[in-house]
Symmetry: C2
Subunit: 740 residues, 2 copies
């Protein structure tokens, strides 16, 4: 604390003259608050200290601004990336501590960039639809500008006017022009790439008081994109159908649903949120008249909550669409986002528990605000709730449904396709037991930034496997992916939310998919039930299909773990060949199969200390197939994960299953507890276009009945199904009851 004291004395002299800057993310008032809080808010102080260590180490190592050459993961790429992160932190440290070495470091590095900039053509790597200057793609250059403009703002008043003018004119303005008017195919899209572009250009415009740049950023360019640019490298459209606007406001209008859901999914939302939020903070400070944080009923804050709510109990995002697993609330983007949502979004004390878990705060007003809240003991536990998040700018283009009960989290997806990063996974679901995947979504086939794996970009197996329908826990008809694997076709429609309910005893989501296959209507209804005799809640899965006779169905279940036992006799294969030629089947080995016998098919598996059992009803001719990912994988890009496919040939039909989480086993005591299913029987009582009804019995004798109305969800509708065994009658969309 001695150091801090001497800093405070220093400030009195240093900041005695009026300052225009910083006024982007840090403000002069904010800096004053931060200085007077130093030494009093442990989490903030600790973050300052960490930043100081990181930046001091970089300063000691010396400045390096290499000629751009490498792809992601390579030296020049990682160096320029590290440079902008370090400059941003150094800027803040300069403001907080007043130590000039930080300003000097930034200035000298910027001068080297200014020196190099005019000598550069496009980056030598040619793979991007929008090649950058310092990086292989404009996207990374925009990242650089978003971070560097913050650093520049922090030293703007400190540098001499001549240097300021030189940097403005020779580095920043031309660089901002490069990623905007020189690359409209990058800047003028409705896409996370453009969000970064808009933010970078807008933020440097705010710093330099360059209103033209700010205007481009907010409203987009009045430039027609050359017809050469139709799709980006991931197959995403450059120009959306009917797209009239561009720029930051258009991104806000189009990218998020009114619930704050981002159509590309949480992995990309996390990435996109940073420029949305950081630019919004700059605008709030410098152009409060825009009311950016109140725009669309506080959309940006809602979007942070939507992101938080799309996680398992380790804070890891649901890996839907293109997503590398493991990305989480611990990321730097969320460190910014959650503190900002706290500060600007009404000081929700539940957010503080997430911030405590993050263990660091951003070095700005939001971070101080959050750290102070924690120091004051305001923290409350964040409560994750069951909820449906709508997709589409107007909230009417599908949704995702999140059901939570105790340790159990289930997510079903019936949203829009998710543009270039979308997967063909309508009505797919994933299931967690705490932080552990029980039924997994494969995620993307990519090792982000790891140069060994094709430079860290998307691998070809991402298209051939990860995006295909068979890679997901949803129905495949006639071995074809949804929409024949065509992104444009998939973009034209969304899943159809039908019913969502979260009561104490039953949590339920039901949605329809009418477009993925011509002439076929699918509806999936999933529920989490509290069954008092079971140790954990039970999951029901009712997948109804209306289709022509002789349709071939494959319903995969990507369980994780080791097969324990089944009530069926599988025949394992000693010659393995790929299961098909396309639509993802070419990546699957068929390890074993069986013609299903008896009324139910049951399989128990074990995964990291717990047991799981699926129980499904069987129709004559049904088959079960045990698969393994890994065929046609010349570079070992795919994980050798197991799968289970329920195969059926039929017309209108119902796949009815129960998923049970049960028991435990510890390797230190070797005593299995509750390792067997508690379900004695499962039976379909009725299936038709309008209703599904099932019945199951526990081994302990109790009987339960679940019925659901597929086309009439009115609360007061009376329903009746006539059965030989007695009629089923109920009121409202569903009924779940014990029958003894």
């Amino acid at each position: 604390m001695k150091v801090l004291a001497s800093i405070l004395i220093f400030f009195t002299a240093f900041f005695s003259i009026a300052q225009d800057h910083p006024n982007l993310i840090l403000t002069s008032e904010g800096v004053n608050s931060i200085r007077s809080s130093l030494g009093k808010t442990p989490l903030f102080d600790q973050t300052v200290e960490t930043a100081r260590q990181q930046v001091d180490a970089q300063i000691a190592a010396g400045i390096d601004v290499p000629i751009p050459k490498d792809l992601a993961g390579g030296y020049t790429h990682e160096r320029h990336k590290s440079n902008f992160f370090t400059m941003q932190k150094a800027g803040v440290l300069f403001q907080i501590t007043g130590e000039e070495k930080y300003a000097i470091y930034i200035r000298d590095m910027l001068l080297q960039y200014a020196e190099m900039y005019p000598t550069l053509g496009k980056h030598p790597a040619e793979r991007s639809y929008a090649r950058g200057k310092f990086f292989w793609q404009c996207l990374n250059d925009a990242n650089w500008l978003v971070y560097t403009s913050q650093a520049y703002d922090c030293i703007y008043d400190w540098i001499d006017k001549k240097t300021q003018k030189k940097l403005n004119k020779e580095l920043f303005r031309p660089y901002a022009e490069y990623i905007s008017i020189e690359n409209p195919q990058f800047f003028n899209r409705i896409h996370n790439h453009s969000t970064w572009g808009n933010a970078g250009v807008g933020m440097i415009g705010l710093v330099m008081d360059d209103d033209e740049l700010v205007d481009w950023a907010l409203r987009g360019l009045d430039i027609k994109v050359s017809g050469d640019f139709v799709k980006d490298n991931d197959g995403g459209a450059i120009q959306l159908e009917g797209q009239k606007e561009a720029g930051f406001f258009a991104q806000l209008d189009h990218a998020f649903s009114p619930d704050g859901y981002y159509t590309e999914g949480p992995y990309y939302q996390r990435y996109a949120m940073y420029p949305f939020l950081i630019f919004a903070q700059g605008l709030a400070n410098k152009k409060p008249e825009l009311g950016i944080l109140e725009y669309r009923e506080g959309l940006l804050i809602k979007a942070v909550y939507a992101l938080i709510d799309q996680t398992n109990s380790a804070g890891e995002f649901f890996p839907i669409n293109d997503a590398q697993k493991g990305m989480s609330l611990a990321s730097r983007e969320l460190v910014n986002a959650v503190s900002m949502a706290y500060h600007y979004g009404g000081k929700d004390a539940e957010l503080l528990s997430l911030i405590e878990a993050q263990g660091r705060v951003p070095l700005n007003d939001s971070g101080l605000s959050a750290a102070s809240g924690i120091t004051s003991g305001d923290t409350k536990q964040y409560i994750f709730k069951s909820q449906e998040l709508t997709d589409g700018a107007n909230g009417n283009e599908g949704a995702i449904g999140i059901l939570r009960n105790g340790d159990l989290t289930l997510m079903m997806k019936y949203a829009k396709h998710g543009m270039g990063h979308g997967h063909f996974d309508r009505l797919g679901f994933l299931l967690y037991d705490g932080e552990k995947e029980v039924i997994q979504d494969y995620g993307s086939a990519r090792w982000v930034n790891i140069e060994h794996k094709d430079g860290g970009g998307y691998l070809k197996e991402n298209n051939s496997w990860a995006k295909q329908t068979i890679a997901h826990n949803t129905l495949v008809v006639d071995k074809d992916s949804h929409f024949d694997g065509n992104v444009e076709a998939a973009e034209k429609s969304s899943g159809t939310p039908y019913y969502f309910s979260s009561s104490d005893k039953v949590q339920l989501v039901s949605a329809k998919e009418l477009n993925a296959y011509d002439g076929i209507q699918m509806q999936r209804t999933m529920a989490i039930l509290d069954v008092e005799e079971l140790e954990k809640p039970l999951v029901i899965d009712l997948f109804s299909v209306q289709a022509p006779q002789a349709t071939r169905y494959d319903l995969p279940l990507y369980y994780l773990g080791e097969v324990m036992s089944s009530n069926q006799q599988f025949q394992t294969n000693n010659d393995l060949t790929p299961m098909g030629d396309n639509d993802g089947y070419q990546h699957l080995w068929l390890e074993a199969q069986t013609e299903l016998k008896s009324d139910v098919f049951r399989m128990t598996w074990f995964h990291e200390k717990n047991f799981y059992t699926q129980t499904s009803t069987v129709l004559e001719g049904d088959q079960a197939l045990l698969t393994r990912i890994g065929a046609n994988d010349p570079n070992f890009n795919l994980r050798r994960d197991p799968g289970l496919i329920h195969r059926r040939i039929g017309g209108n039909t119902l796949f009815a299953s129960l998923y049970e989480l049960h028991g435990r086993y510890s390797y230190a005591d070797e005593i299995p507890i509750n390792s067997f299913t508690s379900i004695a029987n499962l039976e379909v009582l009725h299936e038709s276009e309008n209703y599904v009804a099932i019945h199951f019995q526990l081994k302990s004798g109790e009987k339960y009945e679940f019925v659901f109305s597929l086309n009439d969800k009115k609360d007061r509708s009376e329903h009746k199904i006539e059965l030989d065994s007695g009629n089923l009658e109920w009121i409202g969309p569903f009924s779940f009851k014990k029958n003894n």
Copy 2:
């Protein structure tokens, strides 16, 4: 603490008359100390509280002594197992708290056992070579007796004489006779089964003052085992060659090496230690004249240390021989063993750090002693050291070598076979990065006690896969397992320790195997080197073979993780067939192969946040094969783990490799650090019957040279190898130096 206070008052009355019992594990004096310490030693109090909750719950649930029927994992098996654990705890609680309900519970349960006992024949399951009464094998019955005799001791003076006499005569004596004189093939072996048998019979003998039983336990039976019993169910010999003695002393003489290593390996040592230690405590208390804890220079305490030292940094035992992975210092056996070693072995404060991690102590004198040490703040961190642990009763039948440096743990095995639970793995090794396996030993093919998997016993894949040489990280010649997979042949010899050294800069183990293959001499030399330019220590692996021309070698490496990249072009296969018909090859798929090009073969893989690279020298004609376990596995009993086989056809040869642990990657920041190998080149300078010499160069330019003398390990011997590039000269068994 209010409860404890009232207990203390109660004691004053209850224990005012002199007591003979307890005097087995608890003693009257020990009980007094425990009572006066209650409320003062948190860890002990907490363990008492946990025990009380467990036992109270069992008492509330009521006594159940079912007619024996099931195998391990089944209800009657688990019930009887739970009964003896509960009785043992209830006995201690009765002594500590004086609450009679605990004594009543034990008495009533024992009376039910006494009622049932005379009605029982052998257990209905017929698979064991020594069928039990309450359990399917005598082994479990002996477990019952070891625990139950402790409970009985605690209530011996409390029950009325008539009941005492009835239990002695109708339950305990006949039961002790059953597992001894009626099953000498179980009781009279040198084997962990017999240790349990000896302990159970001896302990109940000590409780009942039945010296005949104690004598049988200590000295074995003078009974010839029927010729029908030659092997047990695991293929272990009932009678060891030349075996003259049996009983507890013979177990002590034969089972442990002078270093405390147990020939079956740590998984079974952990299991066997409990009866050794608990019976020894009983003998120490009741027959101090035997000096059991001083026997063979304090062997039993040494054995506890040997067990502690055979773990990774999560306290998990090396899974050599038949061993289920994950068994660890957290097991109940080790909770007893470590506290006992602390109490009886000189109060080594380093053990307290392990006991703190265990989080509980045994409810006896040792547990109180350890808990008091922790309460007094005596704890020191346990330091795991590099060491060689000899095998064989006299310490001259092979060994295992453990090298440790920072997070890195390497273990090489050149011990005896390990009897019926041994694997054909001479000169095999395993490597850990902290608690994480880098190069794994498969362990056993078994899910202990999990009824789904063949009742929780050994699976047939344990013999067909897990025991075979190809399942281990050691050399396979001509696709045959060591000793042709014959346990008796393997038992006749051991590996030959050659050299072990642990200096600051180089830790080294070298051993020979002269018997596994006729006419073939193998020697493996592994070292961990501190190389200043590398972030972690480097592992050298030099496997020399003297063999006829045209011998076919397969050297497997069971790396764990995902392949990142290689400098070789692998061809992957789209039709998989098993790699062979026997010796374990029938369980391997060949996923990819390549003819090795260039001077070195390099492969990098990624496993849970870190990167690993192997670099091996290549001879013309060498192949590399990427394998996957899982063929011929009808019940999905095997994990789908990857492997890498270096294949060579040749005569005298050297396999030279480096293993490098490097870099890291976090999914929350997606920045790979040091993801590429730092090794530019590896070269064999010389290989012959007498020497191996290698040279490697880092990418940063530094060159290193390692030379080793294979047949002369004298410290002062001078060695010289003439090379075209200049002679290598050094003194002593090895030299490692930087050449610049």
